[in-house]
Symmetry: C2
Subunit: 144 residues, 2 copies
Amino acid sequence: MTVSDLKQIINGKYKMTRQREIVFNSMNNKPHLHFTVEDILDIVHEAHPEIGVATIYRTLQIFIQVGIVQRLDLLNRRAYYEISEQKHHHMICLSCGAIVEVTDEATEEVLNMVKRKKQVLNDFRVVDCQIYFYGYCKNCQAIR
Amino acid sequence: MTVSDLKQIINGKYKMTRQREIVFNSMNNKPHLHFTVEDILDIVHEAHPEIGVATIYRTLQIFIQVGIVQRLDLLNRRAYYEISEQKHHHMICLSCGAIVEVTDEATEEVLNMVKRKKQVLNDFRVVDCQIYFYGYCKNCQAIR
DNA sequence: GTGCGTGCAAAGTCTTTGCAAACCG
DNA sequence: CGGTTTGCAAAGACTTTGCACGCAC
């Protein structure tokens, strides 16, 4: 996703500001995919120390609202944010907390499985599905 | 699950106290299955107003550690707790926040699906899987 | 120019911690 | 009786909010 994609998505609803572009780039340019607010702040502050936390939070809310960012709530009090390009799920290491992405191939099948349970479908209209896998990453397996 | 089950599970590792039994009962006796700490405190305070929040938090941590309670982190800053009798997943209403249980019939299949992806398995040893469905409950569908 | 967006600091919400007293085994 | 556990209040971590100023459109 590029900055001009961002502008297109945001505009109309919100103004495109310097800060929003900076936050977007901080998340978009890094291979490290899941960011806490602190992570983002650190990256942003390297070049732009004047930007405040509140701006990060407010920007993330907007990005979530327009659908370019997804928020993860893991077994942890702090939220993680990621740019949501394509559907995927997450594996969380119970030992070190590492988060690994799993590309989506399960959702469709799971959703169908749920739909087969007629009464669930009648009561609840499902629009999305998130799967979290818990286990141990390669590194932590080696240590044990 | 009964109080004597609880005693068996807890003893050895921890003492069985009046407060722990009260917290357990508050969660076990109610049809309302997902509790915030505030929910639990309200129920507990009906008969035992002297019990403090810290006790609830510490008790829940122990219950989680021994495996009788599961913590849910939803799209929301506050944690939910539930007595985990049998494996199940959750549907969350994006409109009103209602949480509905979905009995498990998906996990096995999902885990197998993941295991088929050899490289994932090699890197990560999966021990559990939680599925969250997001959508709209019957009530909120009607309102719209 | 107007109103949305920002930075700062203060306030808010949920959770954890320190400590003396109380309690379980 | 000795080490856990509790209740209280204070501290901590993360997030939100109020307000005056600044900037995008």
